[in-house]
C-alpha cells in the first residue's frame, strides 16, 4: 500500500499536469490565418501574429530547440541556455561559498560566546532585513565591477540564514554532550570538531539550504540589473525581444535549477543527520 502511494501520487501529478497543459493550450488564442483579410485589416497589421502568452506546445518546441544545443555562443545577445545558467551558477556558488566561509566561523563564535552574541546581535538585526538588491548601487560604486557586484549581492543575501542557524545550532548543543567533552578533557578545538560541529551540523545545513534557495531567487533580479550574462539577464533580454516563448521557457529552467540545488543540499543534510 505504501509503495503504491508513490505510484498513485505520480499518476495524479501527471493527470494534473495534463489537465493544466490542456487548459493552457486551449486558452491560447489561435492565430487567425484562415480566410481573406480585408484591406483595412491588412493595414491594421492583421497579418502580423498577435502577441500572446505562447501555448505549451510552442514552449516545448522552444525547449527542445534550446536544450539540443545549450552551449552555443553567437555573440553577446545570443548565447545558449546552458551558458547563461552556467554564468548564474558561477555567481551564485562563488558568493554563496564566500558567505559560508565567513558565516559558519562567525556563527560558531556567536553560538559559543554569549558576549559575542550580545555584541553582534544589533548589527545582525539591522543588516538582515535589508533587501540584498538595496546594496547594489553601493556595491557598484565601491567595487566598480558589475560582475563582482552581483557576486557581492549573493554573498550578502546568503550570509544571514547561515550565520543565524549556525549560532542557533551551536548554542543549542545539548549540555550533556558538552559535558562529555569536558569530562574527557578535550581542548577547545577538539570539542568544536568532535562534539559541537557534528551536533550542530543538521541545523547548520538547514541554514545553508535556506541560503542557497534565497541566493537563487536573488540572482535573477541581480542579473536583470547588471545585465550582460546569466539567466536573469536572459529573461529580461527575451522580454525586450518580446519573445515570450523564451521567457516562459527560461522561467521553467530557473525553477528546475533551483529544485536541483535544493535537492543537492537536502541530500547533504541527510548525510549529517543523526537520530537521538
Amino acid at each position: 500500500m505504501l509503495a503504491s502511494l508513490n505510484a498513485r501520487a505520480l499518476v495524479l501529478s501527471l493527470v494534473l499536469l495534463a489537465v493544466f497543459l490542456g487548459l493552457w493550450e486551449a486558452a491560447s488564442p489561435k492565430q487567425n490565418l484562415s480566410g481573406e483579410l480585408t484591406e483595412y485589416e491588412l493595414l491594421m497589421g492583421g497579418a502580423e501574429p498577435k502577441a500572446a502568452v505562447p501555448p505549451p506546445s510552442a514552449v516545448i518546441g522552444k525547449a527542445w530547440e534550446e536544450l539540443s544545443n545549450p552551449f552555443y555562443d553567437a555573440g553577446p545577445n545570443d548565447k545558449g541556455i546552458g551558458i547563461q545558467i552556467g554564468y548564474s551558477l558561477y555567481r551564485v556558488l562563488t558568493g554563496y561559498f564566500l558567505a559560508a566561509a565567513l558565516a559558519i566561523p562567525i556563527g560558531f563564535l556567536i553560538g559559543m560566546s554569549p558576549l559575542m552574541y550580545k555584541a553582534l546581535d544589533p548589527f545582525i538585526q539591522v543588516l538582515r532585513p535589508i533587501s540584498p538588491l538595496a546594496w547594489m548601487p553601493l556595491a557598484l560604486f565601491v567595487i566598480q565591477d558589475s560582475q563582482a557586484s552581483a557576486i557581492f549581492v549573493i554573498f550578502i543575501c546568503s550570509i544571514w540564514p547561515m550565520l543565524i542557524n549556525t549560532a542557533f545550532g551551536v548554542a543549542g548543543v545539548r549540555k550533556d554532550w558538552v559535558n562529555v567533552a569536558r569530562t574527557h578533557e578535550l581542548g577547545a578545538l577538539k570539542t568544536a570538531w568532535i562534539v559541537i560541529l557534528p551536533a550542530a551540523a543538521p541545523t547548520i545545513l538547514t541554514g545553508m539550504r535556506i541560503s542557497i534557495g534565497i541566493a537563487w531567487l536573488v540572482i535573477v533580479a541581480a542579473e536583470m540589473l547588471v545585465g550582460g550574462t546569466g539567466i536573469g539577464y536572459y529573461v529580461w533580454n527575451e522580454w525586450n525581444n518580446l519573445d515570450l516563448t523564451s521567457v516562459v521557457f527560461s522561467i521553467l529552467m530557473i525553477g528546475l535549477v533551483g529544485m536541483l540545488l535544493d535537492t543537492a543540499f537536502a541530500y547533504c543534510a541527510r548525510l549529517v543527520q543523526y537520530q537521538e
Partner: protein, 308 residues
Amino acid sequence: MSTPFLSVQNLTKRFQAPKGGEGLTVFENVNLGIKKGEFVCIIGHSGCGKSTILNILAGLDEPSDGAVIMNGKEVAGPSLDRGIVFQNYSLLPWLSALKNVTFAVQARYKSWSKKQVHDHSMKYLEMVGLAGGAELRKPSQLSGGMRQRVSIARAFAIQPELLLLDEPFGALDALTRGSIQDELIRIWSGSDQTVFMITHDVDEAILLADRILLMTNGPYARVAESVQVEIERPRERANIIHHPDYYDIRNHLVEFLATRSRELAGKQDGDEQAAPKTVRFGANAGAVISSETGSKSGARKRAVNSAD
C-alpha cells in the same frame, strides 16, 4: 582512614536568592571519605542534592563552600581521572558505539596508536557484552540497556581513578538492570576501581556497595549515616537475599527513606561538622546507631544485636 583517597570536606551548595525571594541551601557541611577501591552508594530522596554532589566530584559543578580532595589534590574542573556514567547515557548519537569509546580512549592515552586504541576499546566493549557487530551501530539503533553498556565500557576503558555513576540503571527495566548490575560488579571485581554511585534502588545498593551513604531530605540536606555492607563477595542476586544481614540492612535503609530522612531533615543546630554515623550489622554490629532513633527501630535492632 586518616588520609582517605577521596575526601569531601564541609561541602555546601547554595543557590542565590532570586529577587525578593530566599536563597536555597541544598546541602550543607557534607563530610565523607572514600577509600581506594571502595564501592560507595549514596541514597536519598529527589532534591537532596545527590546529583549535585556527584557533579561537584566530577568537577562539572562548583560547591558554594567546602572542598573535594582526591589523591591529595583539590578537584578543580573535570578530568579524565574521574569517569562518569550518566542516567541518560550521554553517548554522542552521531558516532558508533565503538567510536564513542575510542574517542575517549584516544583522549586518555594520546600516544597510543590507532590499533592500540581500537583493541583496548574492543576489550571493554566485549566485557560488557557488546561485540560481533553491535559495536558498529549508532546509539539510536541500540536498546537502552545496550546504550548504558556502551557508556559503562567507555567509563571503565579510560581507567579513571574514580568512577562516578549517576543512577546508571534508573531508566532500565528490571531484567536488564539485573544483568548489567552483574556485569558491573564483575568488571569492578577485576579492577581496583573506586566507585561512587547514586541510586534509588535499595536492593541494588546492598548488592553492589561496600558502604551506603544515607542523605536526609533537602533543603539543608546532609549525609546522616554511613551503613557498612559487610556481606562477603562475590555476591549474587539469587543468594544475597538469604544472607542473615540482608533484610536487616534493607529494612534499615527502607525505614530511613520512609521516615527518618524526613525527621532528620532541616537545618542543624550549631555547625556540626562530624562525619556521618557509621552503622554496622551482623558480626560487627558493635557500633550500632545512637539512641535518637532507637524507639522507632527497636525491634529490628534487637535482632541485629542478637545476631552476634
